[in-house]
């Protein structure tokens, strides 16, 4: 049986070779979906350690990106044995870089970490118009809308997107988080968003609190 604590530690240490070796050996034993679920949970615990180390200043953005890559590889290995169970899903997020802004590194880090925490993320990409957010929210009825942007001009687009959601009477059904270099809590309050962060790990924690 796989050592779940060692697995959690391998994720936390970002030890790629060790992690992939353990997961490949585990999958080769033809485990049950429940056993696979326990392994997914252990990986998620490892990602939470990564988030904590980031907040403590021991890991930096480059390490979060590497952690996201490890997680994608891990899920690919585990897919055949997880089955169709979606018991890991804790909520849905519609995510995008707002209109006029083409930067997506921060958004992608947040997506990896949110997925690692058990969210289903619908990523609309970059330069996303307010109407595209509205349509996706109508379609998938998420718990949370995440808007990202690096340039100061993104602030105007975030405001427009919140207004579009209000106009479509969708604002009351979702929490809105905004992220990126120029955002502040004051600005979030001003435009009617529920939270702001420039720290992906913190952003995921805020989202977890909302759905718990």
């Amino acid at each position: 049986m796989i050592d779940l604590e060692a697995l959690t530690a391998a994720v936390g240490d970002l030890n790629e070779d060790e992690l992939l070796r353990m997961l490949n050996e585990f999958v080769a034993t033809n485990p049950s979906p429940e056993e696979a679920q326990a392994v997914v949970t252990a990986c998620q615990r490892g990602m939470a350690i990564v988030g904590d180390l980031f907040e403590n200043g021991e890991y930096f953005v480059g390490d979060l990106i590497f952690a996201g890559e490890l997680l994608t590889q891990s899920i690919d290995i585990l897919k055949p044995v997880i089955g169709s169970s979606n018991s890991t899903t804790i909520g849905k997020i519609v995510l995008g870089t707002v209109e006029g802004d083409l930067h997506d590194i921060g958004k992608n880090i947040f997506r990896s970490m949110a997925e690692a925490a058990g969210f289903i993320v619908y990523d609309l990409g970059i330069d996303v118009k307010p109407q595209a957010f509205v349509e996706k929210v109508q379609e998938v009825q998420p718990d949370i809308v995440g808007m990202s942007g690096v340039l100061t001009l993104a602030l105007e687009s975030m405001k427009n997107t919140v207004e579009a959601l209000k106009k479509a009477e969708l604002k009351k059904d979702v929490k809105i988080i905004i992220g990126g270099n120029p955002v502040t809590s004051d600005f979030a309050q001003m435009i009617g968003a529920d939270a702001a962060t420039n720290n992906a790990a913190e952003g995921v924690k805020i989202c977890q609190n909302w759905v718990n």
Partner: protein, 447 residues
């Protein structure tokens, strides 16, 4: 107000004093607005203005009459659509807002590492440029040749147009002109060059853990190319090489110390050995790397974005020239009084002892980013209150070129089947000048 010529002389001495380790009469003020801001200020269509940079002249002139600065407040742009669009750039594209931006792109794959190490220039022109610029498709050589020519004409034209506007305004209003364009340079740290348009931010973050040894070798291989890219054609004692610093704050210190710093440090030292200073934009918050910055040659110009001004002044203020740090966001979100108070605080901390140029932490991109009236009040406040009582005294450490003579370059020559040794034959030497220009352009496309 004095006439433009004497005003200009005064401003020249403000900046030269700072670079010469002398306390100037007062703190020099460096205001810069990009073409996007100036187009909006003049109520012009932003895309149109970038396609035709001549259009902004009137707006730029009006801006000069609006805000106080010791340098021309219009700064043009590094990124015009004429050359990026004609080359079908993947890495610089205009978004729906009209701003040219740099999306995350990958121009080099892991399997290219060995070739890049072995033949760096060949790898860049054969593989990386065609991936980032779809019009440079080797399977369509005629289109490739024509588009490269069109883009180069666009590049020369638009920079010349912008240069002419800035020169005109500089003379009209008596701004500090700085040095001629051929006396300045622009390049990147070898590691940042790889991280930027070669591997991209995501892939480089993986490579740092997966193949650090290759990264060390690639930095070495690219060093001569990037050193040459930054080297001014006709340097003067006031020449600077501008290097924006991207990756360090996203890295662990041990990776930074091993992978990022060594070739960068050598580059700055090697410029210093030629009497050339570097002007570094320390993007993000460099607090944890201040001790490294101290090691750079005396009077390196350090533009900071974030960080504690007090700590920065304490650690670096006697050796280096500090600029930046005034939060552009305050000019939007805070009252005029608060902004003036902040300016006073910056002067109290950063001005004593000289080696300080007043500037924002980053320029305003669009018209909504700042309250221009507040910004005007701030620069006038600095002009009137940033006056030194001990002007003419020595300011901190002095730069001595000979201190850096001991760092002879160990880097290899740039060798490539595409580069010619024209200079070796007197009748063809003129071609070397043109090839060097083309070299500058090709590497610029990857910065």
């Amino acid at each position: 107000m004095s006439d433009p010529k004497s005003l200009q002389q005064e401003r020249i001495s403000l900046f030269q004093n700072v670079q010469d380790s002398i306390i100037p009469r007062r703190v020099p003020i460096h205001v810069r607005f990009s073409i996007g801001y100036v187009a909006q200020f003049g109520e012009l269509d932003m895309a149109e203005a970038q396609w035709n940079p001549q259009l902004v002249e009137e707006a730029a002139d009006k801006l000069c009459r609006t805000i106080y600065s010791d340098t021309c407040p219009y700064d043009g742009s590094l990124r015009y659509p004429s050359f990026y669009r004609s080359l079908e750039s993947q890495s610089f594209v205009m978004s729906s807002s009209g701003f040219i931006q740099h999306p995350e792109v990958v121009g080099m794959f892991p399997e290219d590492y060995d070739y890049l190490i072995e033949n760096p220039f060949d790898c860049l022109v054969e593989r990386v440029l065609p991936r980032q610029y779809k019009a440079l498709d080797p399977s369509d050589p005629v289109k490739m040749a024509l588009r490269l020519a069109i883009s180069l004409l666009g590049y020369e034209n638009d920079f010349q147009t912008t240069g002419n506007i800035i020169r005109k305004l500089t003379e009209k209003y008596g701004y500090g002109p700085g040095v001629p364009p051929t006396a300045n340079g622009f390049t990147e740290a070898p590691f940042d060059f790889i991280a930027d348009q070669l591997r991209g931010f995501k892939e480089i973050s993986l490579d740092i853990r997966r193949c650090p040894e290759k990264l060390i070798e690639v930095c070495e291989a690219l060093y001569p190319i990037l050193f040459k890219k930054g080297l001014p054609v006709s340097p003067t004692p006031y020449s600077t090489v501008f290097i924006p610093l991207h990756m360090p704050t996203f890295m662990r210190e041990k990776d930074f110390a091993r992978l990022w710093w060594p070739t960068f440090k050598r580059m700055v030292d090697e410029y210093a050995s030629l009497g050339i200073h570097c002007r570094l934009f320390c993007e993000d918050d460099w607090t944890r790397y201040l001790d490294y910055l101290y090691e750079l040659p005396t009077n390196t110009i350090l533009m900071f974005e974030y960080g504690d001004p007090k700590l920065i002044k304490e650690k670096l203020g006697k050796k280096h020239i500090i600029t930046g740090l005034y939060p552009v966001t305050m000019l939007k979100s805070s009252s005029k009084e608060q902004c003036l108070q902040k300016a006073q605080e910056m002067l109290d901390i950063l001005a004593p002892g000289g080696k300080f140029i007043f500037a924002l932490d980053k320029p305003a991109l669009s018209i909504n980013d700042i309250n221009l009236e507040t910004y005007c009040a701030v620069t006038e406040f600095v002009r009137d209150n940033g006056v030194y009582q001990n002007a003419g005294e020595i300011s901190g450490l002095e730069f001595k070129q000979e201190d850096y003579q001991t760092a002879p370059t160990t880097s290899r020559k740039i060798e490539s089947k595409y580069l010619n040794a024209w200079a070796e034959s007197p009748e063809l030497a003129k071609l070397q000048v043109f090839e060097d220009k083309l070299f500058q352009y090709l590497i610029f496309l990857l910065l």
